[in-house]
């Protein structure tokens, strides 16, 4: 039990060290840092009822989660009425198998994909590629990440960790054989080059796979929001459209959608609305000129249903806007890949242990300063930092933390419950620290706390503690 835990810890810390010394990553993150935050603030300030809409959004999600079974059944019924198929997948493997089978039946050689974190969660691309299918990511960020052979480092900005220079090199390397031999460096030129490469892929794709921002129970529709329109080309051009979504994505009605859309884009990118908001309700009907002949929805559980009814249930409200990542100082310092799985930042640190296993993610809930900005900005008011504390408690109870750490915590807790003794015991080290450092005001080294003193001084305590002064009647 102990060995994998400690090796995982080393891995996390090693990833963090690499991230902190990765010049390109740090440049890219520094550039992204302020943008998302400022834009969200402006969008919020321009909508006085923003907080009230957040409450309404939370209530919609809570209502769905309390009645998830009925809404999922209604949704399934409506999709069938529209001529679509619904497939239920207990876990990632089942979901991949279902999708691979649909692709095989369709005789697919090329598959285009809209951005879908759930498909990342199920490791879909390698499974499809193993059966000889060419998979093309069509969201610009996902496309960049796919060319680089990486995974997204942000749930809405997959390539946020890349600098423009790196993208120039990637495009040059992968597009030269296609005839794009010039090295393009300007933002617009890069986008245009990707667009013209992707156009051909869209047209030649046999199957299109998208995620879903929402599933509408009353109409059996899936909703995707994008800024590039790639989701629409992926959904409507190929003869088969497959939607992948977690079971928590269902909401009752279009009316509810209008509430959730008002907080989604504002929280994510600071836009009032994304450039494209598209609602799909099944395959092409006889009177339609265009659209897919087949429409499939693959609903993934993968651990979500075990969160229902427990302390972590609020996490299922998440609408994947990325605001918690954008406002997290730890995420901004170490980037998404340091977290080790698909979902990074605060939402990832809550979800990863639940969906991907507690043992392999011990660091995540701890690598947080509990500053609470994530909870402050969450559009559906998920108490993220409280849930991270919940995880710490659970780690402690499951003995996933280090034995020494637990002993120290236990001793400290015992002492802290005995205030007199606590003051007595603390008096000596505080006095020593005072004597050693009171002239300069700081200690430059502290035995056992080199993690602190390596990069900062330790301010010395006052000659007499607040408690001592208070007890002796001193009042400022």
């Amino acid at each position: 039990m102990n060995a994998p835990v400690s090796s995982q810890r080393v891995e996390f810390k090693a990833r963090v060290r690499n991230a902190l010394s990765d010049v390109n990553l740090q440049r890219a993150m520094a550039k992204a840092r302020g943008g998302f935050v400022d834009k969200r603030r402006e969008a919020r300030d321009a909508l006085p009822e923003f907080d009230a809409i957040r409450d309404a959004a939370r209530d919609i999600k809570d209502h769905v989660l309390a009645n998830l079974d009925s809404y999922l059944e209604l949704y399934e019924q409506k999709v069938r009425e529209n001529g679509g198929h619904v497939h239920w997948a207990r876990d990632a493997d089942e979901a991949c198998q279902i999708i691979a089978d649909i692709c095989k039946q369709a005789g697919a050689r090329t598959v285009t994909k809209g951005k879908s974190m759930v498909s990342e969660e199920m490791y879909l691309n390698p499974v499809l590629e193993a059966s000889g299918i060419k998979v093309v990511e069509t969201d610009l960020g996902e496309y960049i990440v796919q060319l680089a052979g990486e995974t997204p480092s942000h749930i809405i900005a997959p390539a946020v960790h890349k600098t423009r220079e790196q993208i120039t090199e990637l495009f040059h390397q992968h597009h030269s054989p296609l005839g794009y031999t010039d090295r393009v460096t300007q933002r617009e030129a890069l986008v245009n080059e990707a667009r013209s490469v992707l156009r051909e892929r869209f047209v030649s794709a046999d199957v299109g796979i998208t995620g879903a921002n929402f599933l509408i129970a009353e109409t059996g529709s899936n909703v995707i929001v994008t800024n590039e329109g790639n989701g629409d080309l992926t959904s409507s051009l190929p003869k088969v459209h497959i939607v992948t979504a977690g079971i928590e994505k269902v909401i009752p009605s279009l009316e509810d959608l209008s509430v959730l859309l008002r907080v989604l884009a504002r929280s994510a990118t600071g836009q009032e609305f994304s450039a494209y908001t598209s609602i799909y309700s099944g395959p092409r009907r006889s009177q339609d000129g265009e659209g897919p002949e087949e429409y499939h929805v693959v609903l993934l559980d993968n651990g979500r249903s075990t969160m229902l009814g427990g302390v972590y249930q609020p996490m299922l409200r998440c609408i994947r806007c990325g605001a918690c990542l954008n406002h997290c100082p730890v995420y901004s310092a170490i980037g998404g890949h340091s977290y080790g799985w698909i979902y990074p930042g605060p939402m990832g640190s809550v979800l990863t242990p639940l969906l991907n296993g507690f043992d392999d993610s011990v660091d995540l809930p701890n690598a947080c300063t509990l500053n609470g900005r994530c909870k402050e900005v969450c559009p559906v008011r998920i108490p993220l930092s409280d849930l991270l504390l919940e995880h710490r408690l659970e780690q402690h109870q499951r003995k996933l933390t280090s034995p020494l750490g637990r002993k120290i915590l236990g001793a400290w807790a015992w002492l802290a419950k005995r205030p007199r003794l606590y003051q007595g015991v603390m008096a000596l080290p505080l006095w020593v620290a005072y004597r050693l450092g009171h002239q300069s005001g700081v200690l430059r080294r502290l035995p056992g706390l080199s993690g602190w003193t390596e990069s900062r001084d330790f301010p010395t305590p006052a000659r007499r503690s607040f408690m001592r002064q208070w007890q002796s009647g001193h009042r400022p």
Binding site: K13, P329, G441, R456, P459
Partner: protein, 84 residues
């Protein structure tokens, strides 16, 4: 004032991340040209004051309560006994 990494021994458990965060924070503080910084969390204040001192900066750091109690004539955090 926004966020600094020190809560819950974070800086001892993850010194690399914490160091980066407090460096960024102190650079932001320097940019504001403020001569005094106030905060409400002791861990944060120790962290910032410790880093500012290490960088040799003279920015003073107080808890909000010290200001309310009129104690800013005395030493700030990390200034020792002698306010000079």
């Amino acid at each position: 004032m926004s966020v600094v990494a020190s809560e819950d021994f974070f800086s001892v458990k993850y010194p690399d991340i914490s160091a980066r965060m407090v460096q960024d924070k102190c650079a932001d503080i320097a940019d504001t040209k403020a001569d005094t910084i106030l905060g409400g969390d002791l861990g944060c204040l120790l962290n910032i004051a410790g880093r500012l001192r290490r960088e040799g900066r003279s920015t003073r750091v107080f808890h909000v309560a010290e200001v309310l109690a009129g104690m800013t004539d005395g030493p700030a955090i990390g200034e020792g006994d002698d306010p000079q």
